[in-house]
């Protein structure tokens, strides 16, 4: 389609204006407000015990959820693409559940199953392993919502690469493990990396599911997203300022992930 120079420019302008209004301006306002009382004041606000605890809890949850979902995701992708057994269609469908179910429902379901009055709640409490309203429950909620990203990145690449290289490795004497580490993993490494970045972004930013299963106690079960939410509900300028500074920390973390994504993104398709 031929578009005149003028039309092209105005289309671009519309797109940019839209992005500016929806993304850049709100973010800029948050950043601006966070620094409106100067750096020192910003620093004080983000180093309160509650903020530091929220930061570390967020990082810890991501540090647990991301590796677990990476291993699980690569395994699932292999089972889906290379597996021969029945139930692959079912697995394929189940893997999309976290995409289609609202995180709030995920949180509610976890409460119903693992909560005090839930199916396993009694047993868990008696064995001193309460999950709900504890960081452990928040990890499970994050695991659930960030589960499909690695699988969905890796599976198509596995299909594209095919299994001939793996067969060649087998005829050359390599065991399944040797083939995985030396042949399969190197050929999907960019997809895995991209999947990890997406999983991390989701884990850092998750709010809905985590908020349902957290007791939301500052200093122990409050992540950055929960902290932002709580402070923004507080009355007065002080609360809003705290929300802005915490949101800025979270946004900077997410932007770092975004930069990683742009770095990895283009090399995905290139193969090795």
């Amino acid at each position: 389609m031929r578009v005149s120079r003028r039309a092209r420019l105005s289309l671009r302008l519309v797109a940019l204006a839209y992005l500016a209004l929806m993304l850049v301006v709100p973010l800029a306002v948050v950043f601006g407000r966070a620094f409106e009382h100067g750096l020192g004041s910003f620093w004080t606000s983000v180093t309160t015990p509650a903020a530091i605890s929220a930061f570390w809890l967020t990082v810890t949850i991501a540090a647990i959820a991301v590796p677990l979902n990476t291993v699980f995701g690569v395994g699932c992708a292999l089972a889906l693409v290379r597996g021969k057994g029945r139930g692959r269609r079912l697995l394929d469908t189940l893997l999309d559940l976290p995409f289609v179910i609202s995180p709030v429902i995920v949180g509610l379901a976890l409460v119903l199953v693992y909560g005090q009055s839930g199916w396993f709640g009694d047993w868990l409490t008696r064995h001193g392993l309460p999950l709900i309203y504890q960081p452990a429950g928040m990890v499970i909620a994050t695991l659930f919502v960030s589960l499909p990203f690695v699988v969905r990145e890796v599976a198509p690449v596995l299909i594209e690469v095919g299994d001939e290289q793996e067969q060649a490795a087998a005829t050359l004497g390599a065991s399944s493990m040797q083939t995985f580490w030396r042949v399969t993993l190197p050929s999907i490494r960019w997809a895995v990396a991209y999947g990890v970045v997406l999983t991390t972004a989701r884990a850092l930013g998750e709010f809905g599911a985590v908020s349902v299963v957290s007791s939301n106690v500052a200093g122990s079960t409050q992540t950055l997203t929960l902290l932002v939410d709580q402070r923004s509900q507080e009355l007065g300028a002080q609360g809003l300022y705290g929300a802005n500074t915490a949101a800025t920390v979270l946004a900077v973390m997410s932007l770092a992930v975004l930069v990683l994504m742009t770095v990895i993104g283009p090399s995905r398709g290139d193969g090795p």
């Binding site: 067969q167 005829t171 050359l172 004497g173 040797q178």
Partner: protein, 322 residues
């Protein structure tokens, strides 16, 4: 190493890939599995290498049953049609792969890889990635990789199928020479009868999951077991209810007892050879392949009446060509 496949059957859902196939590949031979696509030749090769399991039947190497052993334990080098090069490794690392898996000393790996790169003419390309090589070079690399671990059997699945005609011809000659020098028992899958005739010393002709005939290239060409083998190995003409090779048809201007009357419908000059297309009295068509000298002597042109016959010893009873 001698390979025996006994009573091997394999089906994929409703498709019968192999139907009770028995084949022996003698030690040191270069055997071609020749047949059209879907004839089961690749499946048989993959069963021999252990990449596929037969539903029934057995495979043995030098008399040892390997039907249920893994490909890793069979010592069979496999060359794939589309090279199956390890894309993320250099050419050197590709060739060294099997040796590194076997944890051979570094110095030994180095010298063996050098030797093989020299053998396949890729010495200068050692530090390149496979995608920087041409198709022919990639397949030579794949051959070096398979040979590195000194397999007792080398199997090749349509190895030259994805290459240009001239590269293909060059690699065929090269493979035959390599086989003569190294003497590794080799099985080659191909659908190209010329390739099979040129490279192999034994040909197993396959069709619809069965082996139709096994023999030397001359045997299967000169004494085909049936119409399919005859038709697959070269051009055929039908003459008086019999199938003959066009170059075995004799054309003469005078009638003889055993000759059939025919009218010349077209004379096609193909360089050294001349193809004479004929209409027979019964309305059927036939063709004869003559040399230029013969045609100059006969001086036939379109519309002439000639008498054609074929030596009966090469004819095959005319079962319908499938």
């Amino acid at each position: 190493m001698r390979i025996e496949a006994t009573g091997v059957s394999k089906r994929f859902r409703d498709f019968i890939a192999l139907d009770d196939v028995t084949l022996e590949v003698p030690e040191g031979s270069l055997t071609a599995l020749l047949g059209p696509s879907g004839s089961g030749k690749s499946t048989l090769l993959r069963i021999i290498a252990g990449l596929e399991r037969p539903d029934t039947g057995a495979v043995s190497l030098d008399g040892v049953d390997v039907t249920h052993s893994r490909p890793q334990d069979r010592g069979i080098g496999f060359v794939f049609q589309h090279y199956a090069a390890f894309a993320h490794m250099t050419v050197r690392d590709n060739v060294a792969f099997g040796l590194k898996i076997r944890k051979r000393p570094r110095a030994e790996v180095q010298s063996r890889v050098d030797e093989l790169l020299e053998l396949v003419g890729l010495t200068k390309w050692g530090s390149q990635r496979p995608h920087q090589l041409s198709g022919g070079q990639r397949q030579r690399m794949a051959l070096a990789r398979a040979l590195a671990v000194q397999p007792s059997v080398l199997v090749l699945d349509e190895p030259f199928g994805a290459l240009d005609a001239n590269v293909r011809a060059e690699l065929r000659t090269w493979l035959r020479r390599l086989h003569d020098e190294q003497g590794v028992t080799t099985v080659l899958v191909t659908h190209d009868q010329e390739e099979a005739m040129e490279v192999a010393d034994r040909i197993a002709v396959m069709q619809a999951g069965r082996i139709e005939q096994v023999g030397s290239p001359r045997e299967v060409y000169d004494n085909p077991a049936n119409a399919f083998v005859m038709g697959f190995l070269g051009p055929v003409a039908r003459l008086g209810g019999e199938l003959v090779r066009p170059h075995d048809v004799t054309v003469s201007l005078v009638p003889t007892d055993d000759a059939t009357e025919a009218m010349v419908s077209r004379v096609v000059h193909l360089g050294f050879e001349v193809r004479v297309e004929l209409s027979l009295a019964d309305g059927s068509e036939a063709r004869a392949q003559l040399t230029r000298a013969q045609i100059e002597e006969l001086e036939v042109v379109r519309g002439d009446i000639v008498y054609v016959r074929a030596p009966s010893q090469v004819a095959v009873a005319s079962t319908p060509l499938t």
